[in-house]
């Protein structure tokens, strides 16, 4: 049943590489390998040699032998399979099959052997899998790195915002002092604020513990290296953004938001245990086939207090346009929206503001300049809805931890508003550090316990008319009720608050109106119960 060693030796008996999978002394393995070439007969049509104690199963590869040493009772069928796999692996890792070549790639070969045989037992793997294992390309590691990066960026954003606020305050004070004299242009003010920032440095970042980011901030600020990155990375930030001014800043946050969202999407995948490939397809949908795509997206930033009441309820929307061909760039969009109180629009500087305000038509200021084309989406209009009250929340979650005896019962229920059908709802409840998964007594939907982060994730794939409300109950060892907060919630929906729509596209030049598709969705950026 067991492979003792996998080795490559030269025809003269020089052991080039050998990996042992069971404990055996060096002299023993060297002896076995040295004895082998003498035992190999020529002109035989079989490729195994039996000795008193072991069996060699081998395969000549040019001037070398690839051989497995097994015990005599070993299952020959399995061993031959293993040998076949190894014989395919060797040329993969050692391009020149001679002594020198094998010696050069000895370690790669050892790593590959390790993947093909685990502690003497055969593994059911293919050459591709072994290659994949040896390459060690990890999606998760990349994600982890990106996450770290995004956290750094996000903190940077927060810093910027704070800086500009401060600046504004100072300016207002200056206005008061100097009696309304002010002609300083925006960007320069920001620049100045940055300079201030770099002086006060990290004090700002760690001081302004913002909502969900607080934990990240800790890890972030505890690393001196990260902090230095932080200040170094600052000057490069404007370079990466395409435009100038406020629009640029929004675009950037959108990018990070998208990323966080994709992370969240993955988190959801963890729950459903789907193949990563399908994740990919969901996160980044197939490239649109229509020449023009309009994406309308709203992001929710909600902070609800656990005892009721809204701390922050903020919707940020974007209308983005993607044009595949240059020729289709000369267009105008006719939009239409519901009149929602608190809705305010901002347009891209290149957009004709008058046209937009009067006719709700999105068109370029300069009619001779087309909208940019390519694979990137260009945000044209942004809007914000503020000041909505609790009743407009798409989903509210109630959590009732109660201690009884040596256990804590936690009851959670959700209630969804009639307006939206919510997809891929994930409610993540932080738990005290536990060794075992909590015992879930009752649940509508599915759950998963992520022991690494001590988070219980409750997922409901779809909330529609059939399940506007649902509940879950689980039991954990006694814990302080506050440990179950903040509960963060993620979902997406296909309709938006503003209900903004593109009703038509008009070509500026002659011709038929081009074909277009539009997608609207509502996603959560940060939706927490604290």
């Amino acid at each position: 049943m067991v492979v003792l060693a996998a080795s490559i030796i030269s025809k003269s008996g020089k052991a080039l590489v050998s990996r042992q999978f069971v404990d055996m002394s060096r002299i023993r393995i060297e002896g076995l390998l040295a004895a082998f070439p003498k035992l190999v007969g020529t002109g035989k049509q079989h490729t195994y040699v039996k000795t008193e104690n072991v069996r060699y199963v081998y395969q000549p590869i040019e001037g070398l032998y690839l051989l497995l040493i097994t015990n005599k009772q070993s299952n020959i069928l399995e061993d031959l399979d293993t040998l076949r796999l190894l014989s395919k692996l060797v040329p993969e890792y050692s391009p020149s099959l001679d002594e020198e070549g094998v010696c050069k790639t000895a370690f790669k070969l050892i790593f590959a052997f390790d993947e093909a045989i685990s502690l003497g037992n055969k593994e059911n793997v293919t050459v591709q899998q072994v290659k994949q294992y040896c390459e060690m390309e990890s999606h998760e590691e990349k994600a982890h790195k990106l996450m770290m990066q995004s956290k750094i960026n996000e903190t940077k954003d927060v810093m910027k915002k704070k800086a500009s606020e401060l600046d504004k305050m100072r300016m207002e004070r200056g206005k008061l002092d100097k009696g309304g004299y002010s002609s300083i242009s925006g960007p320069r003010v920001i620049e100045k604020a940055f300079n201030d920032m770099s002086i006060t440095g990290t004090g700002f970042g760690s001081g302004s513990g913002l909502g969900g980011l607080s934990t990240d901030m800790d890890s972030f600020s505890s690393k001196p290296k990260g902090a230095s990155n932080f200040s170094e990375g600052r000057p490069s930030a404007p370079a990466t953004a395409p435009g100038k001014g406020l629009g640029m800043k929004l675009g950037k946050t959108q990018k990070t938001n998208q990323f966080l969202e994709s992370l969240k999407a993955e988190g959801e995948v963890i729950l459903e245990d789907v193949q990563p490939s399908s994740v990919q397809s969901r996160v980044s949908p197939l490239p649109p086939s229509d020449p023009i795509t309009v994406t309308i997206e709203e992001k929710l930033n909600v902070l609800v207090k656990r005892d009721g009441g809204v701390n922050n309820f903020d919707v940020q929307g974007t209308l983005a346009l993607q044009i595949l061909n240059d020729a289709d760039g000369f267009i105008q969009l006719q939009i239409e929206d519901q009149d929602v109180p608190g809705l305010s629009f901002k347009t891209h500087p290149n957009i004709n503001k008058d046209l937009f305000n009067s006719q709700q038509v999105v068109g370029a200021k300069d009619p001779n300049r087309p909208f940019p084309s390519g694979q990137n989406e260009t945000p044209l209009v942004k809007w914000r809805i503020q000041g909505m009250d609790e009743s407009s929340l798409p989903l509210s979650v109630n959590c009732w931890p109660s201690v009884s005896g040596s256990e804590t019962y936690v009851n959670i229920e959700y209630e969804a508003a009639e307006m939206f059908d919510l997809h891929n709802v994930v409610i993540s409840i932080p738990l005290p550090a536990l060794r075992d998964a909590p015992s879930v007594r009752q649940i509508d939907g599915e759950w998963k316990y992520d022991s690494r982060n001590s988070v219980l994730e409750w997922s409901i794939i779809l909330i529609d008319q059939s399940n506007r409300s649902g509940s879950m109950e689980f039991v954990v060892p006694p814990a302080d009720p506050s440990t179950f907060f903040p509960i963060s919630i993620g979902f997406s929906a296909s309709s938006t608050f503003s209900d903004l729509k593109v009703t038509g596209i008009r070509p500026l030049k002659d011709g038929n109106p081009p074909k277009y598709s539009q997608r609207a969705r509502l996603v959560t950026a940060n939706y927490q119960v604290v």
């Binding site: 042992q20 002299i27 060297e30 399995e78 390790d114 685990s118």
Partner: protein, 950 residues
């Protein structure tokens, strides 16, 4: 126990000086240089350097590296460094790596986690493992199967360490839970194996609760299950064996052939009930026919052979299935099948078997098979064996086989003719038809050796008038018209033959290429006694029907002598059966004419080679005899020949039955044999009871886990004194020779009143020996002693010498003192063991091997037999020449000896001695082997020992 070695990498240009370069590279920030330096460090370590100062560098500069390759190499490095000090305690600095390992176990990259877990499987230091346990357990629930797989094996490995159950007390429960929810095949297998090894009852419970689903399990898991069942059922008299057998039987239909094969093996070890064995045998047979790989076929045949020895009655039923494997094109497979089948013959199945073999023979005639000739020869031998044992089947095959007398494969034809000869003697009923057939096919025979044997048969067994007459006429016909040459041709021929003469002149350089003579026939010089003579002539002569004539014209006078004898015999017989005297005389003169013609041919210059004296004498004898017959001679010629042949056959039979008896006796236990208790395990006698434990023992044997039973008395005999008693350091060694290595246990005693510092045992070797690792330096207090062990690797059978000296320093003498040790001679006899091989293989090897050592006999021993025994005893070889052939006193003796070395090399020895008039023995001992070492060493040994007398 020696430190286990986990990897070997060839490396020849290492020096300790590289250590500083490595250090510099490791400290740098260049990843590629770092990788390279790590590789070099690992190779240096494997080469026996210790590099103790490197560890801290590694900890400081390599541990934090984020590069994956560096991390993996780091794990290899950690795997091979010494983690314990001389006293067996874990080195304190090892704690430094714990943090890194734990980070790796929580690394976002799943592969880093996986390889780290795999590394932990090879780690046996509980102090290092302990802080890592929680991280390992967390990985059990990671969503990536790669991690779970390795986490399970890591838990298993840790739990199995001594005191491992304290590190993870709840490991079995955890693993059991993981197993229940696991989907990945490999991870499930690892979990299941862990339970099998550490908590068998849980594994059994899991297996039994999943009985219905076992058939759908992935094959890896099924293998583990079979293994478990085998283990569980080892305890005898288990009442619930039936349940397990049921599982096994359900697994026999598994789609994975490996599982099926394993099941069959398990089934046999579980039960010796005929049904189970039959099921196993059938399974093997199915695999045998379904698997195309030769290796598999051969090993399955081995398995079947094992079954045959233990359950012959069952195996008899599957004979026909086994025979089906003859369809394999591989000769080795065919040979094994035939051997197996021949051992399974019973009166009931012999008919069927022979029928099958006959069909195979017919198939070989079709001719598209490569090596058809060789295969046919095997078949003929097999049929021969069948017919000897069950003579009733001979009739059905002998006629078919006689068609092959003219086969171009001489070896096959010889086999056939020997077969015919034996059958015609043992089976008188078939005689008439066989003679008839032989006369009909005689003209097809091409090979001289077959011819002579066929002629002998004709001469011996043509009894009736008509048979004798037709035999005579056939021979005459084959000889053609007389004389063999005309005078006019002679002059011509001598001219044309002359240029060819140098080529065919020498007897030893036997050129096999036929030389075309002026008349279109072939002239080939050949030694008539050689086994394969004229083999290659045959095809060239096929055109001619006059086979005997062409052979004689090619100079084969031995055959001519045989013809003369046969003719004489037939004439003598004719005198008995032919009523008409006139006819007899006519025939007699005809025969005389033939003989004289042959003689004339032999003495003429027509052929390049004149007749040899031996043949000449025989033919002349025949001529004399025919001219002047007497009753005595008649009796000798007509009866004694046949009698001695019958005697030879009888002896052969007798020898075979003796061998069988001897074999049968071995397996019986002696009344005073030790009884093995199952619970008290001893290596010495592996009895039936322990057979089931074979698999495990097998593994241990393979890894060299068994320490040899040291026979104390023997051990003391092998002590070698290395220094004198009055030397400042006394040393003695005993030498233990294992298969591939020699262990020297040296005891060193300080005889002075001073402390010896830096005392070192330096060894050097000559021959094919290599010192594995250098013994280190010691400090020896006054009058204290020290045991030093040195391993020496042996790579071939050869006499080797180990030299050495002991070097030490004392405080008052500044220089180092040296004591030279006695040489230690390693004896070749420890490496060779008697073995047997067939005559033919011996001859083939003899012809093939390049190295020959010829030793002239020089001894005081007076008798040939005694000398042979002496040589056999002193060389530890086996005599292949049967004792009956060595019987009697005739003043000379020739024998073949054979032995095999532990490395699988062959050693051949031929002894040819003759007793001189003065009573002394003279002659030569020839040693042949494939490699020089054996021939030389064995020669030296014989030269040393042959004198005898002591």
């Amino acid at each position: 126990m020696e430190k286990p070695s986990t990897l070997l990498v060839h490396f020849d240009k290492g020096s300790a000086a590289m250590a500083s370069e490595i250090k510099a590279d490791l400290e740098g920030s260049d990843v590629a240089a770092k990788v390279d330096a790590m590789k070099r460090a690992v190779m240096l370590l494997l080469n026996g350097e210790t590099l103790p100062q490197l560890f801290i560098t590694v900890v400081r500069y390599v541990l934090p590296s984020e590069d994956h390759t560096v991390q993996k190499l780091l794990l290899l490095y950690l795997e091979i460094i010494d983690k314990r000090d001389a006293a067996g305690r874990v080195l304190p600095e090892m704690i430094l790596i714990c943090q890194n390992l734990r980070n790796n176990l929580q690394h976002p990259n799943e592969y880093i986690r996986g390889v780290t877990l795999r590394f932990l499987c090879r780690l046996s230091e509980p102090e290092v493992l302990e802080p890592l346990v929680p991280s390992i357990l967390e990985n059990l629930e990671h969503r990536h199967h790669f991690i779970r797989r390795h986490a399970l094996s890591a838990i298993s490995a840790i739990y199995r360490l001594p005191h491992g159950d304290q590190l993870i007390p709840d490991a079995p429960e955890l693993v059991e839970r993981a197993l229940a929810s696991e989907q990945d095949a490999s991870a499930r297998r690892n979990a299941f194996l862990m339970l099998c090894a550490c908590a068998q009852e849980r594994a059994v419970a899991y297996l039994l609760s999943n009985v219905d689903r076992v058939a759908e399990w992935p094959d890896l898991l099924q293998m583990a299950a079979v293994d478990l069942i085998r283990k569980v059922c080892r305890s005898p008299n288990r009442a619930d064996k039936g349940r397990y057998i049921k599982i096994i039987i359900s697994l026999l239909s598994s789609p994975s052939t490996a599982v099926v094969y394993e099941c069959a093996g398990a089934l046999v070890s579980l039960s010796s009930a005929p049904t189970a064995v039959r099921a196993a045998a059938n399974t093997y047979c199915e695999l045998l026919s379904s698997q195309s790989d030769n290796n598999v076929k051969l090993i399955i045949l081995d398995r079947l052979n094992e079954l045959r020895t233990s359950h012959r009655d069952v195996m008899v039923d599957v004979v026909m299935d086994v025979l089906r494997a003859l369809t394999s094109p591989n000769l080795d497979v065919k040979r094994k099948v035939l051997d197996l089948v021949l051992d399974l013959l019973t009166p009931r199945n012999v008919e069927e078997v022979v029928l099958n073999l006959k069909k195979e023979v017919v198939k070989t005639q079709a001719g598209e098979l490569e090596k058809g000739g060789e295969y046919r020869q095997m078949l003929v031998q097999a049929i021969h064996a069948c017919a000897v044992e069950y003579s009733e089947v001979a009739g059905s095959v002998v006629h078919l086989l006689m068609d092959f007398l003219g086969d171009t494969n001489v070896a096959a034809a010889v086999d056939v003719v020997l077969f015919v000869r034996e059958i015609i003697e043992t089976n008188p009923k078939l005689r008439v038809s066989m003679i008839q057939r032989l006369i009909d096919t005689f003209y097809q025979i091409r090979a001289s050796r077959v011819c002579s044997c066929a002629l002998w048969i004709l001469g011996e067994y043509s009894l009736s008038l008509s048979e004798v007459e037709s035999a005579l006429s056939t021979i005459k016909q084959c000889l053609g018209d007389l004389p063999f040459y005309t005078v006019s041709e002679e002059g011509e021929a001598t001219d044309s033959a002359k240029p060819a003469q140098p080529v065919v002149n020498s007897v030893t350089v036997s050129s096999r290429r036929p030389v075309v003579l002026a008349d279109g026939t072939y002239a080939t010089q050949s030694a008539a006694t050689e086994a394969i003579s004229t083999a290659s002539v045959a095809p060239g002569l096929l055109s001619s029907t006059l086979n005997l004539r062409s052979l004689i014209l090619s100079g084969d006078f031995f055959l001519a002598a045989v013809i003369a004898c046969t003719l004489t015999k037939l004439v003598l017989r004719l005198e008995e059966v032919q009523p008409s005297k006139v006819e007899t005389n006519k025939v007699c003169t005809g025969a005389l004419l033939i003989m004289t013609s042959i003689l004339q041919l032999g003495q003429s210059s027509y052929l390049p080679q004149p007749i040899d004296n031996d043949s000449y004498d025989r033919i002349v004898l025949c001529v004399r005899l025919l001219c002047n017959t007497g009753d005595d001679v008649r009796k000798i010629w007509l009866q004694s020949c046949r009698q001695s042949f019958a005697k030879m056959l009888a002896e052969k039979q007798f020898r075979e039955t003796e061998e069988m008896k001897a074999k049968a006796q071995v397996s019986h236990a002696q009344p005073d044999d030790l009884i093995d208790f199952y619970h008290l395990k001893s290596r010495r006698g592996m009895s039936q009871l322990e057979l089931e434990d074979e698999v495990q023992d097998d593994l241990k044997a393979a890894t060299g886990g068994f320490t040899k039973d040291a026979d104390d008395a023997n051990r003391l005999n092998r002590i070698l004194q290395l220094t004198g008693f009055s030397d400042p350091v006394y040393a003695e060694a005993y030498v233990t020779v294992h298969h591939y290595d020699i262990v020297l246990d040296v005891t060193v005693i300080n005889r002075t009143k001073e402390t010896l510092q830096n005392m070192c045992l330096e060894l050097a070797t000559m021959g094919d020996l290599k010192l594995v690792d250098r013994p280190q330096n010691y400090t020896l207090a006054p009058a204290s002693s020290k045991q030093i062990r040195a391993n020496i690797k042996v790579s071939s059978t050869e006499t080797g010498v180990i030299f050495g000296n002991i070097v030490y320093e004392t405080s008052n003498v500044m220089e180092r003192s040296v004591i030279v040790l006695n040489d230690i001679h390693i004896d070749i006899m420890d490496y060779i063991s008697p073995a047997t091989c067939a005559d033919v293989t011996f001859r083939n090897m003899w012809a093939e091997f390049e190295w020959e050592n010829k030793v002239a006999v020089n001894t005081v021993i007076q008798t040939e037999k005694e000398f042979l025994d002496h040589i056999i005893k002193s060389t530890n070889m086996k005599c292949l020449t049967p004792p009956s052939a060595l019987d009697g006193e005739c003043g000379f003796l020739a024998a073949n000896l054979y032995a095999k070395s532990v490395f699988g090399e062959d050693a051949l020895v031929n002894i040819s001695i003759e007793k001189q008039f003065d009573g002394k023995l003279s002659g030569y001992i020839r040693i042949r082997s494939k490699t020089q070492g054996i021939a030389l060493s064995l020669g030296d040994k014989i030269t040393l020992k042959q004198k005898g007398g002591s």
